[in-house]
Symmetry: C2
Subunit: 322 residues, 2 copies
C-alpha cells in the first residue's frame, strides 16, 4: 500500500470483521486520578481484552481477512509478547495453524499465553537476526503468511478499532497512546484525524527506547541499538509505514522514564483497581509527570494490556534492590 | 427493629437514597475461569466501588438516612478497615463530623484511606474491649451516632443494594457472598429470597474465622476467640441480628483456607486483570476448591473490595517465606 493509505474505512471494515472475536472494552474514570492529573481522564481498558491486550484486534483482523486458500497454509510471526499470543488465539479461532518465533529470555507469562492458545513455538536467539532467520526457516517450510506485529496495514486497521470505540463514547481533547512499533498509534491517529480533528494525538514511548521520537523529528527510521526499558512491549523499532502515517497524523511524541512508568503502573493498581503491564502505564506516566500538561482538558489514555508478571511486580523488585 | 425485619423495600429505599453517592459496579465474566470452575461465573466488582469496597453503600445509607439534627452531631464507628473509610467518605459527602476508632496494627492502606476522607482517627488497643471503650469515650463527648459496621439495619439495607444490581442483570443459580460480620450477606440474602427464590444463597468465610458457620448451625452466636486469617475484612464475629436473618434466608455457609484464598486472589489478578483484596477472594476460592460445586450452574460471586496492600501481595510474601 502507498504512504498514508490507511483510512477510516479500513478501520471500520476491521471493526465489523473482528466484532465476533474481540470484546468492547470499557472506559474507566477516577475522581482521585483526575485531581492528581489536573484534567478529566478516561482510561480505555484494553487490559480486559481477550488474551490480555489490544493486540487481539489487529491479529484477528489479519487472520480473518485472509482468503480461504492463504488461511489454510496458516500464519506465522516473531514476537516476544502479546502479538504472539493474539495471533495464536486468532488462528485457533479460525482453525488454522500458527507458528510463533519466540526469543530466548522472553517474558514467561507471555510465552505461556502463546502456548496456551495452541501455537507452535519456535525458539530463537534473542537478536533481530536470530528472529528473522528462524521465521524465514519456518515460513519456507509451511508457506504460512507472516503477520508482522505492526508494519502491516491489516494489523494497523485492527488496532485502530480501539480509537473507534473511544470516539463513539467521547471526544477527548487529547488522545494518549503508548508507542512501540507504532501499529496502535497509526490506527488510532487515523481514526482521530477523521472523526475529531480538534483532538490532539500524542504518542508516548520510554526514554530508554525513544527511537520513534527521533524518527518522528527526522523523518528517517532511527533505531536505538540497545533499547533499555521495563516496558517490554515498547522496545521495538518503529515501522517505516507506521512512521509515515504517524508523521502525518500525530501531533507529538513524548517520553517517560521507567521510574515514572512504574509509579504510574502502581497508581493504576491502587486507584483504578486494575492490573496493567508496564507498557500500558506510559500514558498515565506522561500526564502524572507533565510530559503532557492537561491544564483542565480531557484525555483518553489507552491502557494497552494487562499481562504483568505478578510474581515480579516492578515496585517490589525496586524495593528489594534498595 | 424486630428479628428478620429487613425487607426488600428497605433495600429499595436504600438504593434510591444512595444512588447519587455510589457507583453501579459492573459484572465481569471470563471464559477461562468458567472452564476452570465448571460453571458460568459473574463477578460483581465492588472493588471498583467508591473507597474501594461495598462498604460505601451501607455507610452512605446510614449517614443519609439521619435526620438533620442527628446528622449535625456527626457519626462514629470502630473499624480496622473499609467500613471506617466508607463512613468517613459518607460523612464528608454530607458535610458532618466523623470519628473512627482504629486499633493499633490495622492495615496501613485502609488506615490511610480513613484519614484521606478527613475523619478524626482515634487510636485504641487492638482488642474488642479497647475498641469499645475508645468508641464510648468519643461518643460521650460528641453525641455522635454510632454506625455499626454490620449489626445495623440501615447498613444491611445499603449492602443489599449489591444484590439488587446483580438481580437486575441476571438470575444466577447460586449467589456467593463473603461473610465476616454478616452485613452484606444479610442484605443480599433478603434481596435474593424476594426476587429469585430458586437462587441458592451461600456465605463463604475463612476456615480460621469460622464463627458464622458454627453460629449458623447452632443458632447461637459462637465467636472464635482468636480468628486467624489473611482475610482481614472477615475476622469479625457475626452480629446477632445478622445471624437471625442469615439463618432464615441463607442456604449454606462454607469455608476456605487461606492458601485457597491467596490462590484465588492471584487468579483474579491474572485472569480478570483486576485488583482485589484477600477478603474479596473467598467466593472464587470456594468454587475453585469444590467447597461449592457448580456442576454447570451459573453463579454470581461478589468481589467485595480492592484495598489490597500492593507492597505485600500475599503470594509474594509466601514465596519469600519458603
Amino acid at each position: 500500500m502507498s504512504r498514508g493509505a490507511l483510512t477510516l474505512d479500513d478501520v471500520r471494515e476491521a471493526a465489523a470483521r473482528i466484532a465476533p472475536h474481540i470484546c468492547r472494552t470499557p472506559l474507566m474514570t477516577s475522581g482521585s486520578l483526575d485531581a492528581l492529573a489536573g484534567g478529566k481522564l478516561h482510561f480505555k481498558c484494553e487490559n480486559f481484552q481477550h488474551a490480555g491486550a489490544f493486540k487481539a484486534r489487529g491479529a484477528a483482523n489479519a487472520v480473518f481477512a485472509l482468503d480461504g486458500e492463504s488461511a489454510a497454509r496458516g500464519v506465522a510471526t516473531h514476537s516476544s509478547g502479546n502479538h504472539g499470543a493474539a495471533l495464536a488465539r486468532a488462528a485457533a479461532l479460525r482453525g488454522i495453524p500458527c507458528e510463533v518465533v519466540v526469543p530466548e529470555g522472553a517474558n514467561p507469562v507471555k510465552r505461556a499465553a502463546i502456548a496456551r492458545y495452541g501455537a507452535k513455538i519456535v525458539d530463537c536467539p534473542p537478536t533481530m537476526q536470530g528472529r528473522e532467520n528462524a521465521l524465514a526457516n519456518a515460513v519456507a517450510k509451511s508457506g504460512a503468511r507472516v503477520v508482522h506485529p505492526y508494519a502491516d496495514f491489516a494489523v494497523m486497521a485492527g488496532q485502530g478499532t480501539v480509537a473507534l470505540e473511544v470516539f463513539e463514547a467521547i471526544a477527548p481533547d487529547v488522545l494518549i497512546v503508548p508507542l512501540g512499533g507504532g501499529g496502535l498509534l497509526s490506527g488510532c491517529a487515523t481514526v482521530a484525524r477523521a472523526l475529531s480533528p480538534k483532538t490532539k494525538v500524542i504518542g508516548v514511548e520510554p526514554a530508554g527506547a525513544a527511537d520513534a521520537q527521533a524518527s518522528f523529528r527526522s523523518g528517517e527510521v532511527r533505531p536505538v541499538s540497545e533499547p533499555r526499558t521495563i516496558a517490554d512491549g515498547l522496545r521495538a523499532t518503529i515501522g517505516r509505514p507506521n512512521l509515515d502515517i504517524i508523521r502525518e497524523r500525530v501531533d507529538d511524541i513524548v517520553t517517560v522514564t521507567d521510574d515514572e512508568t512504574v509509579a504510574a503502573m502502581r497508581l493504576a493498581f491502587e486507584r483504578l483497581k486494575i492490573v496493567i503491564e508496564p507498557s500500558a502505564a506510559v500514558g498515565l506516566a506522561a500526564v502524572m509527570n507533565d510530559a503532557i500538561v492537561l491544564d483542565g482538558r480531557s484525555a483518553a489514555i489507552i491502557l494497552t494490556g494487562g499481562n504483568a508478571d505478578l510474581d515480579r511486580l516492578p515496585w517490589s523488585i525496586n524495593k528489594e534492590a534498595v
